[in-house]
Every structure is written in structure tokens, then in C-alpha cells.
Subunit: 268 residues, 3 copies
């Protein structure tokens, strides 16, 4: 958690529902969040920030336009960017935009199983079944592992499928991260906010796959600590922010439940 | 509270202030919220979702355009939609848009007394006085009962006037719901979020008037439980989400304070 | 805190991140918040409200257009308005818009040190160095005192630089307000929300400089009370809202730490 000394500036073009909780999650983690989306400034700012996140939860043409400008600007400035394809399979418009953004060289794609399945279908023209509706996953993480591997290989990025047990891969290696708690699904935008935490963990350079795994373990661990004191989803959300701020690197190292594996090659 | 087993997907085109709390309220209630508003996808999504809500709190032309597309799409797909005419009387623009949306066959209109009086004035060209300013009601629920009955009769929908004691009617029958707590007015967007809960309660079919009454009693009861542990509006908001998640159907049946009545016909 | 009896209506054209917490802060303080930004209604509403705030955190052309309409409408209706130049120095677009809005006769400009330095640079064509990036201040309040005095003199307004110890001035007199707690920087948008509290404190008339000082002391004091019970930034945010609602005028009078001074004239 080197980020606590560098305090990386994370530029987020995200959805309206997630903005406040994402900012608070990033502050608690130790990063400095900035939300801005105007066409006239996103390219300039993407180069000032240490990393960028793009989330299509409440997309519209003007915002998509800014996303399409910001992502290449981040890449040009050698900043990593993380893509969060919220509800990627829900509508034709969303499938189209998600496919276009995925092609703009994200360092990491983070979504739930339904979103990763839908995005793989779009990018790989695969026949994977996709059951998502709205923004909540109806598919299990395990059902999206092949899709994640294919997406990661095809786009040369890390794909993180988050759920009860998270699965992340760069196409060759993979990890399953078992930290977390079911109450995390009862608070809105915690997935979206996690996308920011992944950006904060990879902003300082280093191995993207390993830093993504660390981000997911850290986030899940905060969920475990918060659940221990919560009376319901309201008090859980409060305790979760407290836990994010309280967790120290040594605690994370001791309590992370990450299992690494090497994946078999995908058939052509 | 059949919704806890069906987990209805509720599509919300709502205001920026309310988005996060509305999503968290819906998750705590047991529904699955989705916020999206792009012109290119609202019609498609309105048919995927189980119910739609439209809220004009932070309206602007592009959003109004999407609302005007989404509402008929929901009706065509036989999905109920709930209209929340925030600040309906505050400006000429708002009066005009509120009147146009009210004509698009909502199943339920939920507002505070000032909003219902303003909307009735617009729809019925009545001379009812309307004192609201901003988004907080300055009128009492009782002062809006006739306006609510007239609106319900004219638009063939249920009208819910929420306040210290809520009043709901389909023009013929009415209920007064006494559950609630004054701290609910000290937390922003709890009225807006209630509109989502009404949608969740009517999404599964059944009698709309009775299910709206159940939604209001449930919501008010959560306010009572939360107030019992709150030290102020901040801790109230947290305890309120916990209470929404904790209340069981049997508790609701035992503690709902709903009085039904048959209304006299309105004079022509 | 006369506002608790008058409940001033505060019209806010603010950023997406701040909307909910700003509304809750204003409700806890005792004011009535309204967020609306449509070009077709902002001028009408600015005259209905008691005060206006404008915040450029998530600016875009359509919103800027409404800001440019609302501010003169407020001035024409003799309503004070408060300008919050979020991230004023971050991009060329932001510097330009911040300069244009500053020229529209705000009663108060409130920002962190980096924002005030950037705005002064724009308005005064000064050579003051400006180190801000994103929305978090990297400069100390003391480093921005001259810039604040110059801005206040040039624009005939009150300038408030908030930070560890706040500095406010009308160009001639100044106060330093020592109330506050470092946890306030770990919760998003508390600066933005403070802009609303300043508007609420000056909405009723009276001396703008003194009422701004009172608003800052009140806000900082709530931070101190909240920190005494918080386990981290999540529980702090909740306790902060409770504290805003709980603080009485007598407590504020007893615990405000405000030091007044008369400033030397600026060299030409």
C-alpha cells in the first residue's frame, strides 16, 4: 500500500450513483479522487492524474464522447486506466459503447460476471450465454472465467471478475481472491468504487496483475471487518469506509486470501 | 413483501441528489435498482425492468426527452411507472413538464402536499392555492386531499400525498397512513427514494392502491425504528437503511397504522 | 444562527459528487436546499431562493451556461451568491470559467488555498505560484493570504480560504478561524457543502464578513465534535451531520475560535 505515501490522483469519469461513495472510498484508501468529464478538459487532466477510471453506469452521448477522448489521452501519457463496463449486456447501446471502450487499451477491466460475459460476447463474438439484467450479476464468477481469460488475452489487459470469490487474470496467470462479505452487494456502487481502488493500487507502477489482486483482497478484507460490526447495510456502509482507512499493510498481508494458478491455454 | 423473493428490477430516471440514497433504499428493501437515462436505451430498458420511476428534481431538456420516451415504453410493455413531480410548482418550466409527464399514464403519482396541489392546478386548471417553494412542502397533507382525489380521478391513477400522515387515493377509496417520524424530513431525498419503494411494491402486480399503502407504512415504520436509535439526522439516515432491511412482513402487518375510507364523489 | 427560524431556501448549482452531502449538511444546519440547473428555470428560481451557490467541480458547457444566467439573476434580485471555484487551477478550461464566474459579483468566494491562488492568478494576472492539482489543496492557507486580500479588493467580495486554519477577508479586515479537524479532509465534498452553509448564514442579510466567519466556526466546531466520536472517516461523516444539527448558538458563541485583524494595504 505504497499509495498511502504517494497519494495518487485518480481521475474518474464515472456514473452519478457512484460518485460520492467512490470519492469517499478513494479518500479512505489514501488516494486523491477527482471527478470531471468536460470534453474541453478531460485530455489535459488525464495526463495530470496518475490513473483514470471510466464507468458507463449512467452513460449518455456527451459523456461517452469525453470517455473516448480521455482514455487515449491517458494511454498517450502512459497512465493506466481501468474500465468498468456497468450493465454491459443490458441494452444494445450499452453493448456497443462497452465494446468501443474496451478497444481503447485499458490496463484493467473490472466487472461482475454478467458484465464480463457480455463484454466477451461483444469483443470475441463468442456464444457465451449472458444472463445479466440491470447492474446486478445473475451469473456466477466461475461461469465467467473462460470469458475473462479470453478477454484478457485478446485485449492484453487484466480482467477482474468480482463476486463471492473474485477471479482475476492476465490470460496466462490467474488468482482467486476469497476475501469479502455478502453485505457488500447490499450497498450501491461498491463495485464501481472498487474500480477506483484498483486504479489507485496500479497507479504507482509495478505488476498490474499482482497489484489488482492486492486491491481486491484489501477491499474484501474491509468488507469482512465492516460486517463484523454492522447491524444492516446502512451501518455496514459506514463501517466499511472506516475499515478501508484502518487496514494497515501488515494486516492485509496476513489476512489476504489469494490463490494463484497458471491457466491452460485457450483453444483457438 | 413478496418482492424479497422476486427482487424486482426497478428502472429509475431520477435526480442527481437522490440517486445514491434511492439505490441504497431499494437494495435494503429487497429490490434491484438501475439508474440509466440515455435516449438510446431507456425504451429498451423500460421493458426489461419490472417498473419505472420518473423524478423531475434536477430536470433538463435532454433528461426530459428520455423521460418522455421511457414512460410510454413502460406503459406499452405493461410495466407500472411512478411519477415523482419534485418541486412541481416552483417554476413555469417545471409546471409545464410536470403536466406533460402526468398525462403519460403513471400508475402512481407520489409527492408532498405542495407538489400535488401544484400538479392538480396544472392538470385540472383548478384554483387550488399552492404555497410550495423549492422542494420542501409548505402545505399540509390535509390541504391537498381534494386535489389528490381530483388528480386520481382525472388521470385514473393512484395519488399519494406524503407528509406527517400520508394520504393516498384512487379517487374512490383512500387511506391515511400514520407511520413515520419527523426526522425523515431532515434527510435529503427520502421522499424521492420512497417513490422507488412504491414502484418495488407494485412491480409484482396486485392491487395498486393497497400495495402503495403497504409501501408507505413500511417506509414510515422504518423511520420510527431508526428514530429510536438516532442521535441526529446523520445517524438517523444510517439506521433507516438498517431498519428497511430488517423489517419483516409480520412486523409490518402488526405495526402498520393504515385507516381506509371511502370518499364522497367530487362535485363536477 | 437566525437561519433556524427563517429556514432560508438555498439554490445550489453544484457538482454531482457534492449534491447529496451538501443537501444533508444544509438540512442539518437548518436551511432548505434546492438543486436545479436547467437553463429554462435557473433565473426564475434564483429570485425565489434566498441565496445561490455555484460550484464548478463537475462543470460542462450546458451547466456553465446556466451558471452564467443564474448568477446575474441572483444579483438582480438582490440575493447574495457564493462561488466555489473547485479545482480552479487544474485545467485551462477551468481557469477560464472560474475567471468568468468570479466577475459576476459573488458576495463570497470560498475555496482552498490552491484554488484561491489560481483564481487570483487569473483575475489579477499575478505571478503567484499555484501548485494545486485535482481538487485537494497542496498549498497552505497562509500562502494564499495575499492572494485572498487582492481578490477581495479587486472583486469587492469576501474571500474565504479554508484549511487547517481558515482565513477570510473583505480586503480590509480579516479573520482566522481555528475550529476544525483533519478528518474533514478525508470526507468528500465537505468543502463544497460548506459553501452552502456560508450561503445559509448570509442569506438573511447583515454583515457578510462576520456571518461568513460564523459559518466557518460553526462548521469547524461540528468537525471537532464529530471527531471526538469517530472511528474513521465513515463514522466521522455521520457524526458530523448529527453535530451540525445539535450545535446551538450559545455553544457556537462559547467555542468559536475566531481572531480578527486589520490588514495592511496591498502595494499597487
Amino acid at each position: 500500500m505504497q499509495l498511502r505515501s504517494t497519494v495518487p490522483l485518480i481521475h474518474n469519469i464515472t456514473n452519478y450513483v457512484a460518485m460520492e461513495v467512490m470519492a469517499n472510498v478513494l479518500l479512505a484508501t489514501g488516494a486523491s479522487p477527482a471527478m470531471l468529464h468536460a470534453q474541453d478538459e478531460v485530455a489535459e487532466f488525464a495526463a495530470i492524474a496518475s490513473a483514470l477510471t471510466i464507468n458507463i453506469g449512467t452513460l449518455s452521448p456527451a459523456w461517452v464522447n469525453s470517455m473516448m477522448i480521455a482514455a487515449p489521452a491517458a494511454v498517450a501519457a502512459q497512465r493506466p486506466w481501468v474500465f468498468d463496463p456497468v450493465g454491459a449486456g443490458a441494452t444494445a447501446y450499452r453493448r456497443q459503447i462497452a465494446g468501443q471502450l474496451a478497444a481503447l487499451k485499458p490496463s484493467v477491466i473490472r466487472g461482475n460476471a454478467s458484465e464480463i460475459l457480455a463484454l466477451d460476447q461483444r469483443v470475441s463474438h463468442s456464444l457465451a450465454s449472458e444472463l445479466g439484467r440491470g447492474v446486478d450479476a445473475l451469473d456466477s464468477v466461475v461461469a465467467a472465467e473462460i470469458a475473462a481469460q479470453r478477454l484478457a488475452s485478446q485485449l492484453s489487459c487484466v480482467v477482474a471478475v468480482t463476486g463471492a470469490v473474485d477471479f482475476i487474470t492476465d490470460g496466462q496467470y490467474a488468482a482467486r481472491i476469497a476475501n469479502g462479505h455478502s453485505l457488500m452487494t447490499r450497498v450501491t456502487a461498491l463495485g464501481c468504487a472498487l474500480t477506483g481502488v484498483v486504479a489507485a493500487f496500479i497507479a504507482g507502477g509495478g505488476n498490474i496483475l499482482m497489484n489488482t489482486a492486492a486491491a481486491l483482497a484489501y477491499y474484501g478484507l474491509a468488507g469482512e471487518y465492516a460486517a463484523a460490526q454492522a447491524k444492516g447495510p446502512g451501518s455496514f456502509a459506514v463501517a466499511f469506509i472506516d475499515a478501508l482507512a484502518a487496514i494497515e499493510p501488515a494486516t492485509l498481508a496476513a489476512e489476504a486470501r489469494v490463490e494463484w494458478t497458471q491457466l491452460a491455454k485457450l483453444p483457438n
